[in-house]
């Protein structure tokens, strides 16, 4: 058993509260992702779980045992450091072996395990190099490999793939998931990459300024963000205030916004008369029959889609459209499905 229970965790640096009164659980074998803006306290949280930081308040249980005061070396956790923290005097092999040696894994098994990890992370040619002769991405993979090779019951990842290219990232992501599942590890994963978060996680914890904003499955998070912060953060939704005018014909709610009249057929009912609503850039479809129009202010090619900034009603919105011949300065007409207009928290 190695579920994690965090109970009212708070971490203060002098006056500054990096993590404030955070509670959550991670079940045995679950893969949970921490998502949130830079500086919101993700690393701080991981460091409390692994034991480097002593929470100012609150308790942490791992596998049912209160470990709040247990030193890191006695917690069966492994952290893949955001800063890598490789041992500069050891070769890649030495780094990868380190944890296994501490666990007194027999020589043979150790060699095999290291060989396997190196192969999974494409590190074989680097095994005998010292960290300072490695590229950034190679260092990051060593840091990741060092944690993975431990196969601890709780594994914590702090942006383990940020310096890898998309292809490698995909490959490594699969390996991470495989190792986690094969060994039934409890995993907490920090990433800035939403697609990573959505693809890997059983549940996602969205943090903001040291507090938890929402905990949900990826699908729920995407389709039913609890707040405009989440909607905006996940998938870059266009958020705006709106007034609920009443129920629409054919189901859903009629809304009045700066963009004009909209219909929402959200899964949730509105919580107040004045609320925030959101819609996602990729949900707009360009069509001459659309009820919405705007002027294209900027355009950024993104491969299989194009990012547009469109001004309408004095506001700028973001649209993601498939290959488009929209030109900057020209007008564009688009539509939103009622199902894609999300109703969020009440306005304060």
């Amino acid at each position: 058993m190695s579920d994690i229970l965090a109970h009212n965790l708070t971490m203060q640096f002098d006056q500054f509260t990096a993590v404030g009164d955070v509670s959550f659980t991670v079940a045995q074998g679950e893969f949970v992702t921490l998502l949130g803006p830079s500086g919101c306290g993700k690393t701080t949280l991981l460091k409390m779980i692994s034991g480097f930081l002593h929470p100012t308040a609150g308790r942490i249980h791992i596998g049912g045992v209160d470990v709040t005061r247990t030193p890191p070396e006695h917690r069966d956790t492994a952290l893949c450091f955001q800063s890598y923290a490789l041992f500069p005097h050891m070769t890649v092999r030495g780094n990868l072996e380190f944890g296994l040696r501490q666990k007194r894994v027999a020589g043979r098994d150790r060699v095999a395990r290291v060989a396997q990890i190196a192969q999974q992370l494409s590190l074989e040619p680097q095994l005998d190099k010292l960290p300072n002769a490695l590229s950034g991405g190679q260092q990051q993979r060593v840091a990741l490999g060092r944690a993975l090779s431990m196969q601890p019951s709780v594994i914590l990842f702090d942006e383990p793939l940020s310096n890898l290219d998309a292809k490698l990232r995909d490959q490594v992501r699969l390996e991470i998931k495989r190792i986690q599942q094969d060994n039934d590890l409890t995993a907490v994963y920090v990433t800035h990459d939403q697609s990573e978060a959505l693809a890997l996680s059983d549940r996602v914890i969205v943090m903001r300024d040291g507090r938890i904003e929402q905990i949900a499955t990826p699908e729920n998070l995407y389709h039913a963000p609890a707040t405009s912060f989440v909607a905006d953060f996940i998938g870059n939704a266009n958020v705006m205030p709106a007034e609920v005018i009443g129920e629409a014909d054919g189901g859903g709610w009629l809304l009045d916004s700066r963009m004009g009249r909209l219909v929402s057929r959200d899964v949730n009912d509105p919580q107040a008369k004045h609320i925030n609503i959101a819609w996602r850039p990729e949900r707009a479809h360009v069509s001459p029959e659309g009820s919405l129009t705007g002027t294209v202010v900027s355009r950024a090619f993104q491969g299989h889609f194009t990012d547009l900034h469109v001004a309408t009603g004095g506001q700028t919105y973001r649209l993601q459209v498939a290959a488009s011949d929209a030109i900057v300065g020209g007008d564009i007409t688009f539509a939103l499905d009622p199902g894609d207009v999300l109703m969020l928290e009440p306005l304060r």
């Binding site: 030193p71 952290l79 490789l86 005097h89 380190f98 944890g99 501490q102 431990m150």
Partner: protein, 284 residues
Amino acid sequence: MTARRWITVLLLLAPGLGLIVGMIGMVVYIAVAQSFGLYNLNGESVLTVAHWAEMLDRKLYTRAVRYSIYIGVWSAVLSVALAYPLAIWLRKPFRGSITVGAILKAPLLVQGLVAAFLFINVISFHGILNQFMQGIGLWDAPRRLQNDRGAFGVLFLQTWKNMPFALLLLTGAVQAIPDDVLDAARDMGAGTFARFRKIIAPLSLSAMQAALVIIFIGAVADFSFQVIAGPTNRQSLAQLMVFVRQTSWHEAAVVGVTLMVIALVGSLLLAVIARLLLRGPASR
């Protein structure tokens, strides 16, 4: 290496190593020459190995060699061994750490000779240690602790005086190890000792080598602690040197050159052994 690069290296070495080799090289030469009978202060100089033969043949000399190495090695090892935990403790500043550091370093500032006399006073036949032990009833009669045969007194004094030096060097080196790296080791399950052995020691190896070597050289050549607190049935090389100087400059030079060789070879060996034991970073 290009010629340009060599010139840079030589220019950089000039004010330090250059001065040393230029000035001391000559002195070393004189010492060696004197051990072979040259630079006679008392009559004619004759090139000869007789003085070496004479000294190598004496039990006093071979004993002194062994004894000095014993003192040198143990002083260096003990000082460094004591300094390490303290340096690690003082790695992160805390309330009072400056004071603690200053207290620990204070012996550096006490003249060695004075320290030795004070020490002798403490352990002398009627000194406070004897009085204390008798007072608490552990000993019935005063014991003769001074000039003990195992040279523990000398080792104590050496450590007392040199540990602060090792501490000074090691604190800096240990502080330069990033927190994250130490945290990572803990995270991988490395306990205090493993962390020391595998992370801290290798990463501060070069400071440790410097401390070992400098303390070793100082202790191998110890004179003042030895004459005051050392065992009376053997002499350190420096003591022997002064002793035979009363009769022959050349034999004193033989002892002196022996001392130099032991100091250099010994420090080289110590440094190499430390590196092998810890497999430190290959030179960058």
